[in-house]
Amino acid sequence: MANVKISNLNKKYPNGFHAVKDVNLEIIDKEFMILVGPSGCGKTTTLRMIAGLEEITSGEMQIGDQIVNDVSPKDRNIAMVFQNYALYPHMTVYDNMAFGLKLKKTPKAEIDERITKAARILDIEVLLKRKPKQLSGGQRQRVALGRAIVRKPEVFLMDEPLSNLDAKLRVQMRAELIKLHNDLKTTFIYVTHDQTEAMTMGTRICVMNNGLVQQVADPRTIYNSPANLFVAGFIGAPQMNFFPGRIVDGKFVEVEDHTFKLSEKMMKAVKEKGKESAEVTVGIRPEDIKISNSQEGISAKVEVTELLGSDLNVYFKIGQRSYILKTEAASGIKLGDDIYTVFDSEKLHLFDLETEESLVY
């Protein structure tokens, strides 16, 4: 069992910077938990506190049944993969992987066996005698993973392990990490700033900003019902459209000259929160704006198009405000086209103007 339980975790640096603020997070055994957020949000600091590389200012950290606040990294039964791999440059791949085991006085035969097995899983058997310098980025990444695997840790910690790889390799390694997680059946805690990695790999995602946890949920929930404006804007590419609106009679939302009817769920939430006639921020995902074939909907002018193979991002303007929508490349929309857009009112998100919280959350 390797639950990781974080309670009221705080990190304050001597210079007064409060990097992690009252974080509460429970990571369930065998889960693939992703900590995601922009740089400086405290995700790496949190991971380093789990690893024991960073002292905890206040709060409690529990791995398994043990409170580990004062336990040194080596006794936490964890392994970590670093952003720059941190392979020992003066050792061969084999020695890199064997280093931790040798320190633990593991019998030589067992070291051999574990390394052979890990090397087979990662497809690096032929590289064992090489030095890190002679490896490509992707190979180094595998060795770093191998070094973690051979230790058979209860928790894997990964600090942006794919950020140094080129785009193609990153996609490939992403899939391999998911597979690795399935094979090893161990808890993974993974830090990234890339929301695509978070969405594709995580069992659950913990979105952080300014040292605070914004939302913890599975990827689908995070995407479909973001807890606040930050999560809504951070997750999803292209970004969600935001614009000011006003709720009327608890049933409609008025945006500039247009009125949208709220969904049943939304009406209920609006009523519960007493926001029947409040100013709100309205959000809608680019794929929830459709282009109408007939002349229904709101007329708009296309400003920029981005072709992404099968998809097409269309930046358009209604009045003075810019929006973005996502459609099929086959639609053939071009720069300067006049289009009619239909906002799917069922898919609108409403956020409180002051707290920035979602009204349905």
Binding site: K74, M80, F82, A86, Y88, H90, F99, K133
Partner: protein
């Protein structure tokens, strides 16, 4: 003039001052020295040197004072290299940690290096002759009160090593500081997670990662110890005397000083020159071997 020819001219013009002075003050004297070492030259005006072949070299190796000086120099160098490197590496570790006033300490350890060897020698003479016995007297420690570091032929060498270490360790520390700051923090953290304690980290990660610094520091300490002269002049001036295979010798007359004394004190210029040539050859071989050995241990990132 063509551009290529002009470039060549400019190249040689810029090189000329350095090249000419190097030839005049290093290369020429070296070969002249080689010639004089095979004569009976005394540097007395009007006396023509006579060719004596390898006589100066032959007599040198049977000369007990030279033998003794050679051995003492090797002992001095060996212990100095070890003690300076140990002390400076320890200092470097201390001043690269997160401690208060670390820049003050860095500067403090470095300052002795700015004091000239002669002045430093007299300072330590004062410490050894007056301060240490005084402290011994004050606290009633007989051992310190009676410790005459500069009177005992065996101990004096260690007195020299102490003073020399004090002078040079700060300088070598700076090289180690630069090297230690270059060790990627991630590697140390990775090894920590791998389960390494302080000594295992030091031995398995830090030391291999600063191997490049070892090449430089070993070379500098080796060569400087071997050529040590000024501290010795001020601190002991070669004394006290010792008996080596029945001959009276000066216990701290290391090679550089020995050569100076033979040449200028006893006015055997040619003999001194021959010993200087051997000194040069030995030092070259030892230091090249050291650099070659250290280079092999360096890590390429």
């Amino acid at each position: 003039m063509k551009k290529q020819a002009k470039d060549k001219l400019v190249f040689w013009l810029f090189l000329a001052p350095a090249l000419i002075s190097f030839i005049v003050v290093v290369i020429l004297p070296f070969f002249m020295g080689l010639y004089y070492s095979m004569t009976d030259w005394t540097a007395i005006a009007g006396v023509k040197p006579n060719w004596v072949g390898l006589n100066n070299y032959k007599s040198m190796f049977s000369n007990l004072a030279f033998q003794y000086s050679f051995i003492r120099t090797f002992i001095f160098t060996l212990i100095s290299v070890i003690s300076i490197n140990l002390v400076s590496l320890t200092f470097a570790f201390l001043v690269t940690r997160e401690i208060k006033f670390k820049n003050f300490y860095r500067a403090g350890f470095f300052v002795p290096n700015l004091i000239g060897g002669l002045v430093l020698g007299y300072i330590w003479q004062f410490i050894f002759k007056s301060v240490i016995p005084a402290i011994g007297g004050l606290f009633g420690i007989n051992f310190l009160e009676e410790l005459l570091l500069l009177a005992d032929p065996t101990l004096t060498l260690f007195g020299l090593i102490l003073a020399f270490t004090w002078q040079y360790a700060g300088y070598i520390m700076m090289i180690y500081v630069a090297a230690l700051l270059n060790v990627p923090q991630e590697l140390l953290e990775a090894s920590e997670i791998d389960g390494a304690n302080f000594w295992q980290k030091l031995w398995n990660i830090t030391i291999p990662m600063i191997a490049q610094a070892f090449t430089i520091t070993s070379f500098l300490t080796l060569v400087t110890s071997f050529k040590q002269y000024d501290i010795i002049v001020a601190l002991t001036n070669g004394g006290p005397t010792d008996i080596y295979q029945g001959t009276v010798v000066n216990s701290t007359e290391l090679l550089a000083m020995h050569i100076y004394n033979v040449a200028f004190k006893y006015n055997n210029m040619a003999e001194g020159q021959a010993r200087a040539i051997i000194f040069f050859l030995v030092l070259s071989v030892v230091s090249i071997a050291q650099v070659y050995y250290n280079k092999k241990k360096e890590v390429e990132m």
